[in-house]
């Protein structure tokens, strides 16, 4: 599928490029409950829909039925928030089996989760924090993350994409940079990277509040430049909330100008990678109308067209 509003000549060129060097962009939106019905009715032109895997672990019922209906019209990307890939306590086998069953049913275009932990011992049981808790960037942590990612990939028999976090606490036990950590993860496990541009910017804004950086945009560009382009398969865009004393990645507003600027930089860096580059517009709180998400997706496509022209030139 190709973005709308382009001439047939352009589409022909895109198809040719796709065949010759596989350079192409796709764009989708996060599909959440308030938009289930209106999206199925409107059938907007999108390259894929993204859903949170855990919302469809049920063996039947309304949620799964609506996902199957959407799957008739769109490729679906399964984005998890609960595998807790970096947990020293390991992967929950039940969770992995639910995901494997969903992957088999939906045949998603991509499967992804986060470089985070959530599972650990608590009162004699292993509990799940139901959050994306940050990892320390050191060798022990990397070993655990690589082993867990490998376990998931072996079970699903496919490549997993792993996303960078917005983190609100930092371990000072780190002996690697985040980009070095993620690059090593991709290299060792063979997983792909999902780069959330907004998350990088949120982290840089919080580092500015802590006095450890002066220019968040410049810091983010340096971050992006340290990630190996061939490992990146997807970019995420979202809004965030500036609370004054902390910036929160709440996915509850439009993408800000600085993140669009970083997105352009990311397209230039990662858009040449073989295998294509997907872009997702996420919105999870204070949900607006579907049209607002489609407008954001159109903005992403416009920037992709510019990047595409640069590649062709």
């Amino acid at each position: 599928m190709f973005p709308s509003g382009r001439s047939s000549l352009f589409l022909d060129r895109r198809r040719l490029l796709a065949v010759t060097d596989s350079t192409f962009f796709t764009t989708g939106i996060g599909w959440r409950h308030p938009h289930y019905a209106c999206l199925l009715e409107a059938q907007p032109e999108l390259d894929f829909l993204e859903v949170h895997s855990e919302n469809f672990f049920a063996r039947g019922g309304a949620a799964l039925a609506v996902l199957h209906e959407a799957r008739q019209s769109y490729p679906v990307s399964l984005h998890g928030v609960g595998l807790a890939l970096g947990s020293a306590a390991g992967i929950d086998p039940w969770h992995l089996e639910q995901l494997a069953a969903l992957v088999e049913r939906i045949e998603p275009v991509r499967v992804s989760d986060h470089a985070s932990f959530a599972r650990g011992p608590w009162g004699g049981a292993t509990v799940h924090a139901a959050d994306l808790l940050p990892l320390a960037f050191h060798r022990q942590s990397l070993d655990v993350l690589c082993a867990n990612v490998q376990q998931v990939q072996d079970r699903l028999k496919r490549r997993l994409l792993v996303e960078n976090l917005s983190a609100y606490v930092r371990f000072n036990t780190c002996d690697m940079s985040e980009t070095g950590f993620l690059s090593a993860l991709a290299s060792r496990s063979g997983c792909g990277l999902l780069v959330d541009v907004n998350n990088i910017y949120v982290n840089a804004c919080n580092e500015r509040l802590a006095g450890s950086t002066e220019d968040p945009v410049r810091a983010c560009m340096a971050w992006l430049d340290q990630i190996p382009p061939h490992a990146v398969a997807e970019l995420h865009l979202a809004g965030h909330k500036d609370c004054g004393d902390i910036v929160i990645d709440d996915h509850g507003s439009r993408v800000c100008d600085e993140v669009w600027q970083l997105y352009r930089h990311a397209l230039a860096r990662f858009g040449k990678a073989p295998g294509g580059l997907a872009t997702l517009v996420e919105w999870d709180t204070d949900m607006p109308s579907l049209q607002v998400l489609l407008d954001e997706a159109a903005s992403a496509r416009a920037l992709q067209a510019l990047a595409d022209s640069a590649v062709a030139a």
Partner: protein
Amino acid sequence: MRPDNFQQEQQALLQLVLGAADGVALPPWLSAGDATQARRAQRGLQAYRANGQALAERALTAAYPVLVQLVGEENFAALARHFRAFHPPLCGDMACWGDLLGGFIGASAQLADDPYLADVAHLEWRMHLAGSAADVPPDPASFARLATEDPARITFTLGAGVALLASPYPVASIVNAHLTGSPSLQQAGQRLAEGRAEHVLVWRQGLRPRVRVSTANEHRLLGTLMAGRSLLDALEALDDAPDAVPFDFNAWLGEAVQTGLAMGVHSLPTTEGNP
């Protein structure tokens, strides 16, 4: 100073995030002992705690919409906070979390004045489970087997999410009054004041979880069928009932088929000595 091992590092952060109190001492590997860094780490932990609380409220509200109405949003938020502190999620699918809320309410001294709330929670959890239960395809042609086959060798294929609950309170009336308006809130309140007990049946009709007042006989019939026994066993359970109230099986079957409670008829698995 680094903790002894990586697992301890994660466990400590997990406890800081799941813990309720702000202002607890931070480990040096999180704050570096610097006051500014410690403040920032505390603010970050506060963000994680707030997110966890909001997620807990959302998850429980989705499963217990009537309970929210009964106790009010503010009280329900406090209930969710206490419940999460005692029973944190065990898995990454939040739709699975909250099964113990009915028991938690039943053991709460603060809610002892409204003892029916625990059974309302038990009922809502069964409805929540029915909403996501595996689909059961209807097999209407199979009902013809009722006229031709030995009832000792066949049984009903029940609809998705069938569950039974017997309560000393009119919980089906309370739940339906809030979800469908039938009976009215006034009628449900009157039944509660009269001390009426209810047998309750939960199932899913199509994609919609349903709940209705049942009878002791229907509970015996369905309970036997849900145990994997034959139709003959289920009918005999009715005859063996101590109160032996007459049960119109044909009328029951007509409604059960129409409402998606009975989806078809299938053979019982063959067992040794019963070929």
